[in-house]
């Protein structure tokens, strides 16, 4: 038995726009959605749970992660209840539920916390550079000394008293520290999600073998977003895939392969390092432009409502990309001072973006979505097995 929580709706309102009381349960949304299947009847089931205040059911509901916001349900909803936006709001809500630290809830419900945290991390990055990695004085007097044979800036030698090899190691160390922090929170949050969805459900006993046999779905859905591709509007999926692959490549380049990416030598444009960098930049910018134009023009109703965190995410990703491009331009054209300054700004935006968005905010969906599909398949496999054993003749 679970208790009815009458404050649930009040709490949910903080995470976005909701018109759940409009719904008269005709089932149109569930039936029009190309992604629904037996056992996964969204969005209507979640709306019912909200209307009834069934907090526990909502906590273990995986449906919001199955929705990719194509918006067909909202377009055809006979009550203008906007189920698609409701699923979006629920994704924010569930992100805050999975996050055991409580930071996610603060970031989603308070702009002071969100902007404060971004500002604090950015200030810390700038302070670290100013204190420990200030620019070499020579850079202002004799910039020519920092230019290499190809006419580009020697990016790893800009700091006074720190050699090329040591500088790249320090930055790499910073990247790894960031990656470890992010991974720690994200993995513990995923475990919390697993606890709420699978472990807490006493009716569910998942045999180890099912975890193994279903594991492929986790990898498959993470890399291809196959479920997303079943939505009617393929361009959105394509654009998103471009963003995802672009971002993943860039993340790998700056975290795992920094010495190969941030080199003193400026390689010709067809070098793999530059090609991959350009692909990533294009992928991110393309999708970003699509989303920004959409949100400004409100071309699609999915862009009609923008939570403040949506904008912050877009702005930070945009600024990271633009400063990254500027670093590249200044470096290639041989402007050491400009390179140094934009490099710091680039990192001062990139670090808070990753540290806040990935474990606590919008970007956590990169893990929650494939894991939700994985958990859903586990549940389904267990139910199918129970069904088999019940029907099987006694040996």
């Amino acid at each position: 038995m679970q208790r009815v929580n009458s404050d649930l709706t009040k709490d949910l309102k903080k995470f976005g726009v909701q018109e759940w009381n409009e719904c008269f349960h005709c089932g149109n949304c569930t039936a029009i959605c190309p992604l629904t299947e037996q056992g996964s009847l969204f969005p209507r089931q979640a709306i019912r749970q909200i209307q009834l205040g069934l907090k526990d059911s909502l906590y273990r509901n995986l449906d919001p992660w199955m929705c990719y916001y194509c918006g067909e349900c909202t377009e055809t909803c006979p009550r203008d209840a906007n189920p698609a936006e409701l699923m979006m709001s629920l994704r924010r809500y569930l992100t805050s539920i999975y996050d055991w630290t409580g930071m996610s809830r603060r970031f989603y419900t308070s702009n002071y916390w969100e902007f404060g945290a971004v500002g604090a991390i950015a200030a810390l990055i700038i302070a670290l550079f100013v204190v420990f990695l200030p620019p070499a004085a020579e850079m202002f007097n004799n910039p020519q000394a920092f230019i290499n044979d190809q006419g580009g800036v020697m990016i790893n030698s800009m700091v006074a008293g720190v050699g090329e090899a040591r500088f790249i190691r320090l930055i790499e160390l910073g990247d790894w520290a960031m990656a470890v922090v992010v991974a720690f929170f994200l993995i513990t949050n995923i475990f919390n999600m697993y606890y709420k969805v699978i472990l807490k459900d006493k009716t569910l006993k998942v045999p180890i073998i099912i975890y193994i046999t279903e594991f492929w779905s986790l990898i498959y859905n993470f890399t291809t977003q196959a479920k997303f591709s079943k939505c009617e509007k393929k361009t959105y999926w394509g654009g998103h895939l471009l963003l995802m692959t672009g971002y993943s490549i860039m993340f790998a380049l700056v975290v795992a392969f920094l010495p190969l990416f941030q080199t003193e030598t400026v390689f010709p444009w067809y070098h793999w390092q530059r090609i991959l960098g350009y692909y990533s930049t294009f992928g991110i910018l393309f999708f970003l432009a699509y989303v920004v134009i959409g949100r400004i023009q409100r071309s699609d109703f999915k862009f009609e409502f923008s939570h403040s965190t949506d904008w912050l995410f877009i702005i930070m990703l945009g600024l990271t990309t633009i400063t990254g491009i500027l670093v590249h331009i200044f470096r290639v054209t041989g402007l050491p001072v400009a390179t140094y300054i934009t490099y710091i700004i680039h990192l001062a935006i990139l670090f808070p973006m990753i540290l806040i968005e990935v474990p606590f905010s919008k970007w956590s969906h990169l893990a929650y979505r494939p894991f939700a599909i994985y958990f859903f398949r586990l549940k389904k496999a267990v139910v199918a097995k129970q069904y088999e054993t019940k029907l099987a003749p006694a040996a």
Binding site: G27, N28, C29
Partner: protein
């Protein structure tokens, strides 16, 4: 007494606009009180939508059987002047003394001398989709709307007549057995009548199902509207009442014919265009019950057919209606709560996708034929008429009374009353009640004899 008020003697003649069941009922009520009525009907016959229905709910009376005697009574009534194929163009004057201009569209056939033999139509070379059969059959350009039409006389549809178009043809004139009966050059004329009261009973039109693109009406030949199915299942319809697939004839036209197969799985979808913010917010009130009736008619003709209904809420509100709902359920019709979201074509079948809300199940099943229970909406000329008569409409375009609760037949204009579906969705019994109420208001005014201004 207020000296500024003048007393106008009320003209004892009444105008009824619309010849459906509401107009027929109102006209008969007044005419049987020995007063004169002008009954104006836009089409070539009275009868309206009710004449098109196969059966009525919940008693399953044959609609034509109970309606046609009333139609004949109107046609033969000495106190009723029946003005079919006519339209009200203008209303002037004041309550008690309206001057009404009526356009008599040229029928091009002399109503007095036509004997209704049909020889002309046999020779007419022009085929036109029949309005009466919801465009499921063909009629000729010279036609009688349906065999029991009142008046039972032919008329020429000028929109399709070859002679009207280019002056060459005249096959009907050559075939006609009566001398000078057909005059292809007859022109429309306007007449003016004086009446004391007006009853507006202009009815409705059905919702255009092609607006709901996800149902594929107009694209999938065996997705029908309920009105089309009423005609299909009717003994006087395109297949003599056999439920058959719509298929292509030799010329490639989609028609219902007895050469086609019978469908085995039929789905009926409620609330098409009703209770929907995208179309009409209101409930059309009649669809639940007529859908149940259609399910019954399918079961009656095809007892082994798999019939399913998809509804949002089942509104069985009237006398005997809930019992009727239970009866249909007992007849083996699958009645499923959940609005069907889309219809697709798959391997020659129609695939419907719906949520079975009471069993938390997704329904994806193949059927052979889908009936869309379309809602009803104000007639095409309702807005124009409301301006002409100075009566108000509500947000949905229905004529509305200033006191909907206690005086539903009244309008803002004295001497003008409203009756039937033009006032808002209602079924036949309610329509008849309101028509009689409107007639009673008119009789009261005529008996008073004067109208104070």
């Amino acid at each position: 007494m207020n000296n500024n008020r003048t007393q106008v003697k009320i003209c004892p003649d009444t105008l009824v606009i619309g010849g459906g069941i509401a107009g027929i009922q109102a006209a008969l009520e007044i005419a049987n009180g020995n007063l004169n009525v002008f009954l104006v009907e836009k089409t070539g016959t009275i009868g309206g939508h009710m004449a098109m229905f196969d059966k009525t709910f919940p008693t399953l009376d044959c609609a034509a059987c109970i309606l046609t005697p009333k139609m004949v009574e109107v046609g033969q009534h000495s106190n009723i002047e029946l003005l079919t194929y006519c339209e009200v163009m203008d209303v002037k004057g004041q309550p008690g003394n309206f001057k009404v201009t009526i356009l008599k569209k040229a029928k091009r056939v002399n109503v007095e001398t036509c004997i209704g033999c049909g020889t002309c139509a046999e020779k007419c070379p022009k085929n036109v989709p029949s309005e009466f059969d919801a465009f499921t059959t063909l009629r000729k350009a010279i036609y009688i709307p349906f065999p029991q039409a009142v008046p039972n006389k032919y008329l020429i549809d000028a929109d399709y007549c070859i002679y009207v178009e280019n002056g060459k043809c005249g096959a009907c004139v050559k075939a006609c057995l009566v001398q000078d009966c057909i005059n292809l050059d007859e022109k429309d004329e306007e007449i003016e009548i004086t009446v004391g009261n007006i009853i507006v009973a202009t009815g409705f039109k059905t919702f255009d199902a092609s607006r709901v693109s996800q149902f594929g009406y107009g694209k999938f030949p065996n997705v029908l509207t309920s009105l089309e199915f009423e005609r299909l299942v009717n003994a006087a319809g395109p297949t003599e009442g056999n439920i058959k697939f719509r298929s292509q004839d030799k010329k490639g036209n989609w028609v219902f014919s007895n050469d086609s197969e019978e469908p085995e799985r039929i789905a009926i979808i409620h609330c098409v265009g009703s209770r929907d913010e995208n179309y009409h917010k209101y409930c059309s009130k009649v669809c639940c019950m007529y859908s149940l009736k259609l399910a019954h008619l399918v079961k009656e003709k095809l007892p082994d057919a798999d019939v399913s209904e998809y509804y949002i809420d089942m509104r069985a509100f009237g006398k005997g209606y809930e019992e009727f709902y239970q009866r249909i359920e007992e007849e083996g019709v699958n009645i499923i709560r959940g609005k069907t979201a889309k219809i697709e074509q798959r391997n020659g079948n129609l695939l419907i996708r719906s949520e079975d809300i009471e069993n938390a199940r997704l329904i994806e099943r193949d059927v052979d034929m889908v009936i869309l229970s379309v809602g009803i909406e104000p007639g095409e000329n309702a807005a124009e008429l409301s301006k002409m008569l100075g009566i108000s409409t509500d947000n949905d375009g229905w004529f509305s009374s200033p006191d909907h609760l206690l005086d539903p037949v009244a309008t803002g204009s004295e001497g003008i009353t409203i009756a039937g579906v033009c006032e808002g969705p209602k079924d036949i019994p309610d329509t008849v009640v309101q028509a009689s109420a409107a007639a009673s208001r008119v009789l009261q005014r005529i008996l008073t004899g004067v109208s104070s201004q």
